[in-house]
């Protein structure tokens, strides 16, 4: 039961209108299962999964599944701050949920400041479209919006598992890239990124940090 080793922990938050499928997306991503019926999320729920980025670094994702319902809005916004990535989720078959995306994004930016999270635009319920459902948001339109705002865009289906992995993987990889370039770093008092204390090379992060002081003795 003891947790596997990981190098970093990223905190990602899922936001978007209610019933667009945030919880289902997460359930598939963490459990590989799809629930036909699920209760609306109260406040916020938590999921976790370990993922490996391209160079083999192990990342533990702590996923904050916020309630989309309007009545929780005042509460959920207080959870934004410590996120390093945000998935903006809409329902492909629900025009309004897509039209609210700019609002969600502005809200997230405002509350995560001064940190700048990685955003991704995730369309849900792709299976409904191929199943004769009515698509209300075209792929091109969503893609155009994503390009305009510099977001990664993907259409997913939690029922079939289409692109679910990709959605999270791309955000994780991008956060990791930004760590590599020095844009993001682990900070005291901010929980967006944390280092796993079980580094495979046997070096404790604290020790690494303290080293220059010791070696610089003259």
């Amino acid at each position: 039961m003891v947790e596997p080793i990981f190098d970093y922990q990223f905190r990602l938050i899922l936001i978007g209108d209610s019933t667009v499928g945030k919880s289902s997306l997460l359930k598939y991503f963490t459990d590989g299962k799809f629930a036909e019926l699920s209760d609306p999320t109260v406040g916020v729920d938590f999921f976790a999964r370990l993922i490996e980025v391209k160079d083999g670094t192990r990342i533990k994702l702590q996923l904050w599944d916020t309630a989309g319902q309007e009545r929780f809005r005042s509460i959920t916004k207080s959870y934004y701050r410590n996120s390093v990535g945000a998935l903006l989720v809409y329902d492909i078959c629900n025009r309004a949920s897509f039209e609210h995306i700019p609002l969600w994004m502005a809200e997230a930016k405002r509350h995560i400041e001064p940190h700048r999270p990685v955003f991704a635009l995730v369309g849900c319920k792709l299976d409904l479209v191929s199943n004769g459902g009515h698509r209300e948001v075209s792929k091109e339109e969503a893609k155009a919006f994503a390009d305009q705002n510099g977001l990664y865009h993907v259409e997913t289906s939690a029922r079939k598992g289409t692109n679910v992995e990709e959605a999270f993987r791309s955000v994780t990889q991008e956060v990791y890239n930004r760590i590599q370039t020095g844009e993001y770093k682990v900070e005291d008092g901010w929980d967006g990124i944390k280092t796993g204390f079980t580094r495979p090379n046997g070096l404790d992060f604290n020790l690494v940090e303290a080293e220059p002081a010791k070696s610089s003795c003259c």
């Binding site: 039961m1 003891v2 947790e3 080793i5 109260v42 406040g43 916020v44 938590f46 999921f47 976790a48 702590q62 904050w64 009545r71 929780f72 005042s74 509460i75 207080s78 959870y79 001064p114 700048r116 990685v118 955003f119 994503a146 390009d147 705002n149 510099g150 977001l151 990664y152 865009h153 993987r169 791309s170 990889q173 991008e174 890239n177 370039t181 020095g182 844009e183 770093k185 900070e187 005291d188 008092g189 929980d191 796993g196 204390f197 079980t198 046997g202 404790d204 604290n206 020790l207 940090e209 303290a210 220059p212 002081a213 610089s216 003795c217 003259c218």
Partner: protein, 620 residues
């Protein structure tokens, strides 16, 4: 991720860059690797040439004293090349330095003439003064540095200069944002730029842009503070070292390693020199005009005039001056390092000190403590793993696995938010209103006092009784929440414990499972409290007394469940002990189970206490 993906994100970067704040840039800069630092050193030198160009234009009328100019021309190439940072810097940057020397020779003529006004004798005085100060300060105890930290801060508050700094920063910032907007340059890909910036002027400019934004903060700060110190004469170097440290600590950007710091100090030293030398001239006007013309930050001016300043030193002064500079900078480096060492003593990474400066740590945050404990345990586990010893069951890790830690943390956020709301409310009230409100708040607190009663209740728990108790409490809460999860988890656990086949588990495994179920039940309890808090906050009509009552009921019920599970688990462990006969070992396990059960109860009580502000907010 494929290339198109990264393109998306890159464009996002650009957008963000355009509205980057100065702070962000600073932070970024501090974290830069030493390689980029070296690159920047090079850039500084090259920038100084540009400044010399400007000078050439602005001081043509002075270029009459030809003889001395040519005389100096030859000598003045040296100091720059022998610049201590250059000597120590990466080999790759050396060709650049040499080129620089050659270039410098051609540019120097006019600038040296400009500087010739300055009195040589006075100059050497300044130098020796500087020398004395540095050598004495090198002997000074490092503890003195701490003291000078404070005095240095006072020294620096020369208001006039500060105002000027503000204006200049504004100008620089404006330019920056424009540059960032249509700039493809990414601050981190410095290695590429390193190569190109030697080749073309254009890229050189780009790097300068980066420089001005990244180091502008330091540069501006430097020059202003240096101007003030210069007018007061040569103040001690230690001031600057400690100022450097203070800024680092104050801005909370994390601590640069001593080497970086030493480098910064070297730069300070350099610009300081230049200002001392140029002191007598109408430098301020020049600063402004140059800045406007060249758009290069103040530090550049400092270095540019450093070149010109040094260039007018006579042969004799030059050789001693060089010694002074290099030894002075070495001393600076030493002081910087030493100070960092002392600061970091018993406080690696300055974590404690930073925390001390930043937050009022009047009460520790539970989730942080738990997380720390978890991290520590994980580390121990890893070590144990390496030694091929079986892993130990760790409560905190398991608690996190069941998402207990996350819920606790989120509950803390809610609680804190309510606290803030209450504080602002209290501040807005006065007189009788204030007293009334304070009374209401303390009444609620009293309602929430937990009594340590049924702790040693011995009889077997009645399931239906418990269920009824919970249900009544939840009804009183009047929010749409079900505590079924608590009941079902407890039932599952009890059921599992009762029907446990002792032959299938070793004592250690049984112990681990016991810890796990305790963590699981606690996590469920914390989760429910968290959800309750959220729902209470969005509830329309609050009935604080009822809510407090039922939450107290729920808390005691939860702790009863915990002790029930602990009892059952230890009974099983006892059975196992009599079965296998290894009593000592098992006793330790049993103690541990009870210990973690007590922990569980206190976590639940803590979670309940976090709900008190939520209740209070509903009452006022």
């Amino acid at each position: 991720m494929d290339t198109s993906d990264s393109e998306h994100f890159e464009s996002a970067d650009e957008e963000f860059n355009s509205d980057t704040e100065d702070k962000n840039v600073k932070t970024k800069t501090i974290s830069d690797t030493s390689e980029t630092l070296k690159l920047k050193e090079m850039t500084i030198s090259e920038e100084s040439i540009n400044v010399s160009n400007v000078k050439e234009v602005s001081t043509v009328n002075v270029v009459s004293n030809d003889n001395s100019c040519h005389d100096l021309k030859r000598k003045n190439v040296k100091p720059v090349v022998r610049n201590p940072t250059a000597d120590k810097s990466d080999k790759r940057s050396k060709p650049g330095k040499l080129k620089l020397g050659v270039k410098l020779g051609t540019k120097i003529t006019s600038t040296s003439c400009n500087a010739i006004k300055c009195d040589d004798v006075e100059d050497s005085k300044l130098k020796s003064n500087y020398d004395n100060k540095t050598s004495s300060s090198s002997k000074t105890n490092i503890d003195d540095n701490h003291k000078t930290c404070i005095s240095a801060l006072k020294d620096i508050k020369n208001e006039e200069n500060l105002q000027k700094l503000d204006k200049r920063e504004e100008i620089v910032l404006d330019e920056e944002s424009n540059m960032w907007a249509d700039d493809e340059w990414e601050p981190i890909s410095s290695t590429d730029n390193k190569l190109t910036n030697k080749e073309t002027n254009e890229t050189n400019k780009t790097v300068q842009n980066n420089f001005s934004s990244g180091w502008g903060g330091w540069g501006n700060w430097d020059v202003t503070s240096l101007l003030s110190t210069a007018t007061m004469g040569v103040t001690t170097i230690t001031n600057h070292v400690s100022q450097g440290l203070t800024t680092v600590l104050e801005s909370g950007i994390g601590v640069p390693d001593p080497e970086e710091l030493a480098r910064l100090n070297k730069m300070e030293g350099k610009s300081k020199e230049s200002i001392e030398v140029d002191e007598e001239e109408e430098e301020k006007k020049e600063v402004d005009s140059k800045n406007n013309k060249s758009g290069v930050p103040d530090l550049t001016f400092g270095l540019g005039s450093f070149v010109s300043g040094v260039s007018q030193i006579t042969k004799l002064v030059e050789s001693t001056g060089n010694k002074v500079i290099s030894s002075g900078l070495d001393t600076l480096e030493t002081i910087g390092k030493k100070t960092m060492e002392v600061l970091q003593e018993g406080d690696p990474g300055l974590k404690k000190k930073r925390a001390f400066l930043k937050i009022d740590a009047d009460k520790p945050v539970l989730s942080h403590i738990l997380r720390e404990a978890k991290e520590k345990a994980e580390q121990e586990n890893r070590l144990a793993e390496e030694k091929h010893v079986s892993k130990k069951a760790n409560y905190e890790t398991l608690f996190d696995d069941h998402q207990g830690l996350a819920h606790l943390e989120a509950l803390e956020m809610l609680s804190r938010q309510c606290d803030i709301k209450l504080k602002t409310l209290l501040e807005s009230h006065s007189g009788a209103d204030l007293i009334e409100m304070q009374e209401t708040l303390s009444q609620i607190k009293e309602l929430c006092e937990l009594t340590d009663e049924d702790e040693d209740e011995k009889e077997e728990l009645d399931e239906s009784e418990i269920k009824e108790k919970i249900e009544t409490a939840v009804t009183e809460l009047n929010v749409s929440i079900s505590y079924n999860k608590l009941m079902s988890t407890w039932k599952d656990i009890s059921h599992w414990l009762e029907n446990l086949d002792l032959n299938l588990y070793s004592a250690a495994q049984l112990h681990e499972e016991s810890i796990n179920i305790l963590a699981q039940l606690t996590a469920v309890a914390v989760e429910l409290f968290h959800k309750t808090g959220e729902l209470l906050l969005i509830k329309e009509h609050r009935s604080t007394v009822d809510e407090a009552d039922s939450l107290v009921q729920l808390t005691t019920t939860m702790t009863t469940l915990i002790s029930d599970i602990a009892k059952k688990a230890s009974n099983k462990l006892n059975e196992k002990a009599t079965q296998s006969g290894s009593k000592d070992n098992v006793n330790q396990f049993i103690t541990n189970v009870y210990f973690e059960a007590t922990n569980s109860s206190s976590y639940i009580k803590n979670a309940f206490e976090l709900l008190i502000p939520v209740l209070q907010v509903g009452a006022v």
